[in-house]
Symmetry: D2
Subunit: 148 residues, 4 copies
Amino acid sequence: MSGESHIKPYIHHAKYYETDQMGIVHHSNYIRWMEEARMDVMSQFGISYRDIEEQGVISPVVSVSCQYKSMVHFDDTVQIQVKVVKYNGVRLDLEYEMTDSFTGELRTKGTSTHCFLDKEGRVISLKRDCPEIDERFRLMLGSAKINH
Amino acid sequence: MSGESHIKPYIHHAKYYETDQMGIVHHSNYIRWMEEARMDVMSQFGISYRDIEEQGVISPVVSVSCQYKSMVHFDDTVQIQVKVVKYNGVRLDLEYEMTDSFTGELRTKGTSTHCFLDKEGRVISLKRDCPEIDERFRLMLGSAKINH
Amino acid sequence: MSGESHIKPYIHHAKYYETDQMGIVHHSNYIRWMEEARMDVMSQFGISYRDIEEQGVISPVVSVSCQYKSMVHFDDTVQIQVKVVKYNGVRLDLEYEMTDSFTGELRTKGTSTHCFLDKEGRVISLKRDCPEIDERFRLMLGSAKINH
Amino acid sequence: MSGESHIKPYIHHAKYYETDQMGIVHHSNYIRWMEEARMDVMSQFGISYRDIEEQGVISPVVSVSCQYKSMVHFDDTVQIQVKVVKYNGVRLDLEYEMTDSFTGELRTKGTSTHCFLDKEGRVISLKRDCPEIDERFRLMLGSAKINH
């Protein structure tokens, strides 16, 4: 209801070293900004990726995609919205939308998919093995459903 | 026929600075390796991206995607195959396949799409404006059709 | 006296993609953080590096150095202090000190030196060619002398 | 005399994603190229950094410096010479010189210093704890003395 609307978009200020000689941010950096935004939104739901790894769980990226709609330049500020589109305890699907903080113009749209592995590299179910974290991801999923 | 089979896959030796604390290559780097491989294959067809830019044409990335099938570690060597799947003078679609150079195991699959702009940022047709480069991209496309 | 003390240290939150397989931030990233901090402090003195380049001036790095005193981990927050140690209108020398935002522990010390070039790559004197920017760098220098 | 002369300089082909909007390679990347070159030269002496880490030893960077003499552009090829200037079993000091592969023009000069730590983060002596690796570093040092 009310609490869920407090998800704050992640803000990234484009750095000089992120540009290339085309005079715009190099396209590979948006994949990194998606990671920044993802971890920030997770932390808004009380999920610390640092803690997850300290519990012996890693969450590799299974796939990413990014569509570049308009260019980001050095010193621009973008606002990144992250939305959980699927979560079933074993796999997490996210969508991203980056817009210019001042004009609101759409910059990129992206997706990423993640799984969860134990130290031996075996796929685990958060639902079974880390119920507390699982619950928080379900809150993220529920919140996304309400707000979008 | 014969000539086309000489497209050499691009070789990348994974660097220490490309790893992250998961102990594997960070997923954003594969997007960069796709760029390395793309430019290498283009140069095998006589297309120098440096020359293209010096002629006042830039070729921004319109979209990318990557699926991570298995992990690449520091000091591993991967072999990247690039295939033109579509080229119509205005837009270029590529596919990538990265395999371990020693075991042949599939590491990632990727795609990228590109357009061509003039200095003022207007979409141009290579077919009309740079017929020599256009011809070479058509050779790349033709070669891909024969070999795959 | 009073105004100068308002220089705010730059804050950087260490990103996952900045780590390497040693489990710490890769040493090359601190060179990038120095750039972030440098541009932030310049902007506190009304110097926009974006504007400088739009006026046809670039400021390449002439030298850098960094001493790594203790490690920064993913999700740590560092505070970066930038100090102008020399500025004569032609050349700018800076010093950096990075400390952990929570413990205050020293992480790294660094230096960088910069010159100013016009579009043709010729060394220029800001004092002569961009007196307004020159004045602001002198304020930065003066402020550093008072505060340190 | 003869054997020592076989140290091959490391070759790096500058990538598009390594450039910034100044139209040259971003200065932070040279720190990464020094790492590439260092590991390549070590491997020429039979030292695999991968093996070192698998034996439970890490070798963090204690300090780096780089002086930028002239610019490297996209698609340029540089040749990097690495020289051991000091090695005492506990600490390793290296010097780097990067020149354009075609013109021989000096691009950058750099230095780096390294120590060796065990898994608990304690400083170790390779001389005492890894005599085989120690011996190879001494060969590198001896070779540098003869050749320079």
